[in-house]
């Protein structure tokens, strides 16, 4: 007996993926001003890459494309420099390297990830309602 609620396995992996994306966005925003992270360099923005793989057809159903890997990679864009001569992290020219986190980009990503999460929640909720209504066929 695999999934009684239709499509719940792909929805669960999608929810996990969107949650990881939300975690990463939260981390990026929290560290947006960290000029000295580990190894002395400013915080490097992280991005999430989703990989899908084709799953073999289960129980005669259609073969599903579902999430297989969630990879967190570092954004390789250069660090912007701000001129702040008195800062302890300033280099010889008085420039401070800031993290390559663009707050506006992060906010847009946050909205997209939130909507995706909510969409998957709606799928899960509807699927469960359908399953319960199916069971009610036999009720008097």
């Amino acid at each position: 007996m695999i999934d009684l609620i239709p499509g719940i396995s792909s929805t669960t992996t999608a929810l996990s993926a969107e949650r990881t994306r939300l975690d990463v966005i939260g981390e990026n925003i929290a560290n947006a001003n960290v000029t000295r992270g580990e190894d002395g360099k400013p915080y490097q923005r992280k991005t999430v890459v989703f990989e899908t793989a084709l799953q073999q057809a289960v129980n005669g159903g259609p073969s599903m494309t579902s999430l297989q890997g969630i990879k967190i990679e570092k954004d390789q864009r250069p660090f912007p420099k701000i001129h702040k001569p008195g800062d302890p992290d300033a280099d010889a020219n008085g420039d401070v390297s800031m993290p390559n986190v663009n707050i506006h980009e992060e906010m847009a990503d946050l909205i997209a990830a939130t909507r995706a999460f909510e969409a998957n929640l709606a799928v899960a909720r509807n699927a469960k309602t359908l399953a319960m209504q199916t069971l009610a066929i036999g009720k008097r």
């Binding site: 007996m1 999934d3 009684l4 609620i5 719940i8 929805t11 669960t12 929810l15 996990s16 949650r19 929640l121 899960a124 469960k128 399953a131 319960m132 069971l135 036999g138 009720k139």
Partner: protein, 143 residues
Amino acid sequence: MFPISAIAGSGISAPGLQPGMGAALPQLPMGEAGTFPIDLGKATGIGMPDSTSGVSHPSFHPGITGTQPSDDAFSKTLNNFVQEVNSKQAAAGDAVSRLQSGGDVSLHQAVIAMEEANVSFQLMVEVRNKLLEGYQEIMRMQI
């Protein structure tokens, strides 16, 4: 099984029951009429006459064994079904406890595990209702 053979054993002719059917059902000794010491340990198993204990049980046709269907396909199916429902419930409880203590299970995974357990339990209840309905339908049949 018990009532039919007991009636035949005491000599009352039950309509529709012919002594010629299969082996002859033995008559109970009249001295013991009215007392049917039924050994409950044997009641569910094969009803063989227990001649060694000096107590006569209502004996059965050897062909009608009334054994428990231990390798019956349907009871196996039901058993497997109940086991799976139980495992889903256990998985849901396990997910919730891991969420509260460790945290390698995320919130939506625990919630979805609980919903799966709920749906499978409802399915089991519906199966039980259908089986009961069928049983009652059969019991309502006029002989």
